[in-house]
Structures are given as C-alpha cells and as structure tokens.
C-alpha cells in the first residue's frame, strides 16, 4: 500500500511539472486577403494600386506577446531588407494591415493603441468590450479546434463602410487575446479577418515571462475624439471635397 502511494505521489508530481504553462507566450501572425475585392466599375488605376498593395502583404508579420492579463500586438519588420523598406507598395501594404501597436489590459478592460498620424504620435484609449456574436461554425487551426465569432465596426467618421470582423478562437487555449486588440473571447484568437484582411497564426510559443511593456509615448486621446480629429483633417486636405466636385 505504501509503495502504491509513493507511485501515485511520484506520478502526480511528474504530471504537474510536465504540464505546459499555456498562460503566457507569443504568437506570430502572417497576413493575407480573405477574398479579392469586387472590381466591377472600379477605375483601372485603383485596381492596379489594390493588386500591387496586396501582393506585398505576405512580407508582413505580427507578434502577439501575452501573459495572464496583458498583451501587446506589434508589427515585425524582420523580413524586409533595406532596399525593400522604401518600396511604395510595401508602405501601402503596411498601412493596410496596420502599423499600430495594441496594448491590451484585461484588468482595466482597456486597449491602448499607439499610432502615428500625419507626423504626430497618439495614444488612443478604447474599451475592450466588443459585441461578439457566436456562430456554430468550427474549423481546425494548427491542431486546435476553433469557433467563429463575429462583430461589425460601423461606418462613421473613420470608415466609409461597415467592416465585418470575424475571429476564430480556440477554447482549449484559455487566453482572451488576439490580433489588433481584439479579445475578450473564451480562447486565443488564431485567425482574425478585419474586412478582407486576414491575420492567421504562423507560430505559437509558450514561455514563462514574455516582455510586455505598456506604450507611454504619444498624445493621449479617446477614440471618439481621435475619430473627430481624423475627419477634421480629411476636410482640411480636401481630397474628398474635390472628389465630390469631380
């Protein structure tokens, strides 16, 4: 009996040490397009610009570092050589996929987005709350069963059309984070579609203490005031007024 107890104790001890800590680590995401845009009745120059931009998306990578209650999502430049860094369409692709840094704080239910706009650096604060609608769709991603959730970003000051956001999350990975500050789901988001731009997992690594630093530089502003500022600048430049007149 004593020997059996010792074996049980040894088994439990071994089990505890051998279980992977999945509450912190890093995810690398690649970028692509979900579906090609409908180009009927679109100017040839716009179609050309679009195709040349999306052709560069495969050169872009993002990194999500996370622990129990914080994460940071950031663009990684390591694939780009010096000659390519000045490529206009790579610049356009980075703008399309996003150059913002997203710092997510589950404790305070906030997302902080550090971003540059017209030469100024901003720290835009917004709520982590997202009106997710669960679907019954599931698929396997990197050997994890994933469920699809959806939300809509409504058109308004920043966007001229509604943007559908789809997130495939893995309930087995109980980490409420994902690309572009999206989270709050009962699992790590392994694939996110923002409109027709798709962020999909390339690599997942679990580690003890990834470095997650809260961005502090930039003009602090709420997301509502930042949207108003964007629209103000659009009016000042006059690109849309001229378009309407033409």
């Amino acid at each position: 009996m004593k020997i059996i107890n010792i074996y049980i104790l040894l088994f439990l001890t071994f089990n505890c040490f051998s279980q992977k800590n999945t509450s912190s680590g890093s995810v690398i995401y690649r970028v692509g397009v979900t579906n090609l845009k409908d180009t009927v009745n679109v100017k040839n120059s716009n179609i050309d610009f679009y195709k040349r931009t999306i052709s560069k998306l495969n050169e872009i990578r993002y990194r999500l570092d996370f622990n129990n209650n914080k994460s940071i999502f950031i663009l990684e430049d390591f694939l780009v050589n010096d000659k390519e860094k000045n490529n206009f369409f790579l610049k356009s692709a980075k703008l399309l996929a996003g150059e913002e840094i997203y710092y997510t704080d589950l404790v305070n239910n906030k997302v902080l987005i550090q971003q540059e706009f017209l030469g100024d650096l901003f720290l835009v604060e917004q709520s982590l709350d997202v009106d997710w609608k669960m679907t019954k769709e599931t698929k396997m991603i990197e050997n994890f069963r994933c469920i699809k959730a959806e939300t809509v970003v409504k058109k308004g000051k920043t966007y001229t059309e509604d943007i559908i956001v789809s997130a495939w999350f893995a309930p087995e990975l109980t980490i409420a984070f994902g690309p572009k500050g999206y989270g709050g789901l009962p699992g790590l988001i392994l694939e996110l579609s923002f409109g027709d731009v798709n962020y999909f997992v390339s690599k997942i690594e679990f580690e003890a203490n990834p470095k997650i630093e809260k961005p502090t530089e930039g003009i602090k502003i709420s997301s509502e005031k930042f949207e108003t500022y964007i629209l103000q600048k659009v009016d000042e430049y006059g690109f849309e007024k001229q378009r309407k007149q033409n």
């Binding site: 845009k37 679109v42 100017k43 120059s45 716009n46 610009f49 679009y50 931009t53 999306i54 610049k91 356009s92 703008l95 399309l96 540059e116 706009f117 017209l118 058109k155 000051k157 920043t158 966007y159 001229t160 059309e161 943007i163 409109g195 027709d196 731009v197 964007i230 629209l231 600048k233 659009v234 430049y237 690109f239 849309e240 001229q242 378009r243």
Partner: protein, 67 residues
C-alpha cells in the same frame, strides 16, 4: 526709368516663379488625391490610412518639385 523697368521685370520673374510653384502644388494635389482615392478603395474605406498615404504622397511630391 531704369528702376521701373528693373522692378517690372523683377515682379514678372517673381510672378512666374509663383505661378510655377502654384502649378507644382496643383499637380501634386491632383496626384495625391488620386492616391487617396485608390487607397480608400484598397483600405476598405479607412479614411485615416488613406489620408496618411495621400498626405505623404503630397508632401513627397512638393519636396521633389513635382513629379
């Protein structure tokens, strides 16, 4: 008389230069507006991103004295 002639040709030269600068500015604006429109289509209607690229294109054009 010589002063009047000198001042007139100076003013003309200045207005020619000003006119050239205006032409470059107009050309750059037209080009940047085209980029803004293409970017708005590509970026799914994201004004912030389209304006970032359009304004960059305009500033770059002006710096290089027009395309």
């Amino acid at each position: 008389m010589a002063v009047v002639v000198f001042m007139s040709s100076s003013l003309n030269a200045n207005s020619n230069v000003t006119s050239q600068i205006d032409d470059i500015s107009d050309d750059c604006f037209e080009m940047a507006m085209g980029i803004y429109e293409a970017a708005l289509f590509t970026y799914g209607g994201d004004r912030k991103k389209a304006l970032s690229l359009g304004s960059w294109a305009y500033d770059d054009c002006i710096e290089n004295g027009g395309y």
